[in-house]
């Protein structure tokens, strides 16, 4: 079925004509319910004030005065906006722009999205010969809207030899991509998450001199590639303006992320299997680090406590069992339960955790500002109407002491079972 909306002029006419015998049923069929406003028989606009507005998600009547709604349509928010983005498909690309995103935690980071935005700029510069953006993704990922980030072609490599820290095997895969499709540009994030290292290895292997730390790219007809870039050099103290080389390692915010179009993200398959390389580097896995020694601003997993925590010993035990770094709201610090350097929020530390558990924190605006970059927020609270619950991806209403205790029991049970099995 086509997604195009079909108009029925007769139905619309009946919907406009309040005196038509089928007026009510047509309105119901169109999903508008009873109208609140209609032109009267003498040309006057008649209004029924009882029918204005709609019943909101919390059972309260809401009136939307923006003019987008008429009658009791129900609170359809801006959910279908994503659908209206035009889908761009590039069947016969003139060239490829290869991007290797970091995919930290299995998702596109802000840095990756900026990089894809830059790749789109390079690919779409000439409308007559449009290029396609190829994303090379290593390992399993959880990203569902790669197409909306601007990816035309997706090469997903997920074999055991490139899992973990395997720069040599990944380099081998990139060399295979180079031989198969020869992208015009290679873009990698200049980050510590692996992109910076992989890009430098690729440049060294291909014998190309890359540009590192790029933060600005401008079109320039005089340079060989048609682009001029500005890169940071000498530990960030110099700006180097130079023609954009084939391999570029860009900093975050090098371009605007793609927001207006949707792309196909069609899966590609390598024409030949990955070369088997003898790895001289053996990955022995991550080492457990004392979570208390990790700085709060860069901790990955934070268990934060606030005014609602009564049993502090249980809270500290839970933090050590879960392996989470401890944080606190301002109230808990002021009361003397936690040290000042553990305070999260605008007046304390701005945290960037991937998972943030707020125990008994109601969510003052200063605290919510401090946790803005956090990806997943879990709230444990007694009050179902507080601001933290609105921010949280998962909220559990209940007594924090009991829930933490149950969580500790579950985690230690799971660990015990694993030990028994091993």
């Amino acid at each position: 079925m086509s997604q195009l909306p079909r108009r029925d002029p007769r139905q619309e006419w009946i919907a406009r004509n309040r005196l038509h015998p089928r007026h009510e049923e047509v309105l119901a069929a169109l999903g508008q319910g009873a109208t609140s406003e209609w032109p009267g028989p003498n040309g006057l606009v008649r209004k029924n004030p009882h029918r204005v507005g709609f019943i909101g998600p919390n059972g309260i009547k809401r009136i939307d005065r923006s003019g987008t709604q008429q009658g009791a349509g129900g609170g359809k928010a801006s959910a279908p906006v994503a659908e209206h983005k035009p889908l761009t498909e590039i069947a016969e690309p003139a060239f490829l722009v290869a991007v290797v995103p970091d995919m930290a935690g299995g998702r596109l980071s802000g840095h990756d999205k900026d990089l894809l935005g830059l790749a789109r700029r390079l690919a779409d510069a000439d409308p007559a010969a449009q290029g396609a953006v190829l994303a090379v993704v290593f390992g399993s990922h959880k990203e569902t809207n790669l197409g909306e980030a601007g990816v035309d072609r997706l090469l997903h490599l997920d074999s055991p030899e490139i899992a973990g820290y395997a720069p040599e095997a990944r380099l081998g895969a990139l060399i295979t991509v180079e031989q198969a499709w020869t992208p015009r540009h290679w873009l990698l994030p200049d980050s510590k998450l692996g992109g910076g290292e992989l890009g430098r290895r690729l440049a060294a292997r291909l014998g190309e001199r890359p540009a590192t730390g790029i933060w600005q790219v401008e079109a320039d007809a005089e340079s060989a590639t048609g682009w001029q870039c500005t890169a940071r050099g000498a530990a960030g103290s110099l700006d180097i303006r130079r023609p954009l080389p084939r391999i570029a390692l860009a900093l975050a915010e090098c371009a605007e992320p793609v927001s207006e179009t949707r792309h196909a993200a069609a899966e590609l398959v390598l024409p030949q299997p990955l070369p088997s390389t003898l790895s001289r580097i053996q990955d022995l896995g991550q080492v457990s680090v004392d979570p208390a020694s990790v700085a709060l601003s860069e901790a990955e997993f934070i268990l934060a406590a606030g005014n609602g925590v009564r049993d502090w010993d249980a809270y500290h035990r839970a933090a050590s069992v879960l392996g989470a770094t401890e944080g606190a709201s301002r109230v808990a610090v002021d009361e003397g339960y936690m040290p000042r350097d553990r305070q999260v929020g605008a007046t304390g530390t701005w945290v960037t955790a991937r998972v943030y558990i707020a125990v008994g924190i109601s969510g003052a605006i200063q605290h919510l500002q401090g946790i803005q970059p956090c990806e997943k927020v879990i709230a444990i609270n007694m009050d179902p109407s507080c601001d933290m619950i609105k921010r949280a991806d998962l909220a559990v209403i209940g007594d924090s002491t009991q829930i933490l205790e149950a969580l500790v029991t579950l985690v230690s049970q799971a660990r015990e079972e694993k030990r028994d099995a091993a």
Partner: protein, 267 residues
């Protein structure tokens, strides 16, 4: 303790040092990451540590290089190169000649292009494995080194690598000891001439002091005035999460545990 340990040949370590630049004053100094690399090499048991620098030899660079000598060395090998030269051929030739077991460098230079490519190019040229962003060397035995790599967010990863190898040092490595004045004066710079290769491309680029990057503007793409107002006045809110009311503590804990497992934060 064991009699064999005296018989085993010492681990030969070469640290590539460069001339740093103080981020505020701009004065020359020992480079921070290279100094951390020297500290790391000093902490290795029975290692023969050698310092190597390729670059200009003048008064200011000598002062900076003596900063490394003050960390407890009597000599530093200096391959003389003109300003702005590509030091890669000279360094790879020197490393080929001495063939150390382990080469330690910083991640990137504090002056010049500072692209951080040198260790990768050296590894490619010499055919040695390379590990970047090291926090510590745990042990070296039977031609294999066990390393601790620093990951973002304060995490660590244990790696095993076959020697000879090149490693680069992260900011998470132990802080370097202070440079002592007396040994720094007494130490000698063993100057030698090396192959000179000019970097022509660098000369054609426009280089200027870094200007602050423009702040990214928050672009609101909204059709109506109401949407624009909502975007301007928005609080930090998630996209409507799941709320569990009237659940037993165990059910709540199970839901939390599932999310933690999905995000892979539990170890």
């Amino acid at each position: 303790m064991q009699p064999e340990s005296a018989m085993t040949p010492a681990l030969e370590v070469t640290v590539l040092v460069s001339i740093g630049r103080h981020p505020l004053t701009g004065r020359v100094r020992r480079a921070d990451q290279d100094a951390r690399g020297v500290e790391l090499a000093r902490s290795l048991a029975d290692a023969e540590v050698r310092l190597l620098h390729a670059g200009e030899c003048n008064e200011s660079s000598e002062a900076a290089l003596r900063g490394y000598l003050g960390m407890g060395f009597s000599e530093l090998a200096l391959i003389e190169q003109p300003e702005g030269a590509d030091v890669l051929p000279a360094l790879s030739e020197a490393l080929d000649a001495t063939s150390p077991h382990l080469v330690i460098t910083g991640e990137r230079a504090e002056r010049g292009e500072g692209s951080g490519l040198l260790p990768y190019l050296l590894a490619e040229r010499l055919g040695w494995p390379l590990v970047s962003g090291l926090a510590a060397v745990e042990s070296v035995e039977d031609g294999m080194a066990t390393l601790l790599q620093a990951l973002p967010r304060g995490q660590r990863r244990r790696l095993k690598i076959r020697l000879p190898a090149i490693v680069t040092v992260d900011d998470a490595a132990p802080t370097p000891r202070q440079s002592a004045y007396g040994p720094a004066r007494r130490g000698t710079l063993e100057t030698s001439a090396g192959e000179v290769c000019n970097d022509d491309e660098w000369a054609t680029w426009q280089v200027q002091p870094a200007r602050p990057r423009p702040k990214r503007l928050k672009i609101v793409k909204a059709a109506s005035a109401r949407d624009r107002f909502k975007a301007a006045a928005a609080k930090a809110e998630g996209t409507g999460g799941q709320v569990l009311t009237d659940v037993t503590p165990t059910q709540g804990a199970e839901a939390i545990l599932t999310l933690l497992r999905d995000e892979e934060v539990l170890r």
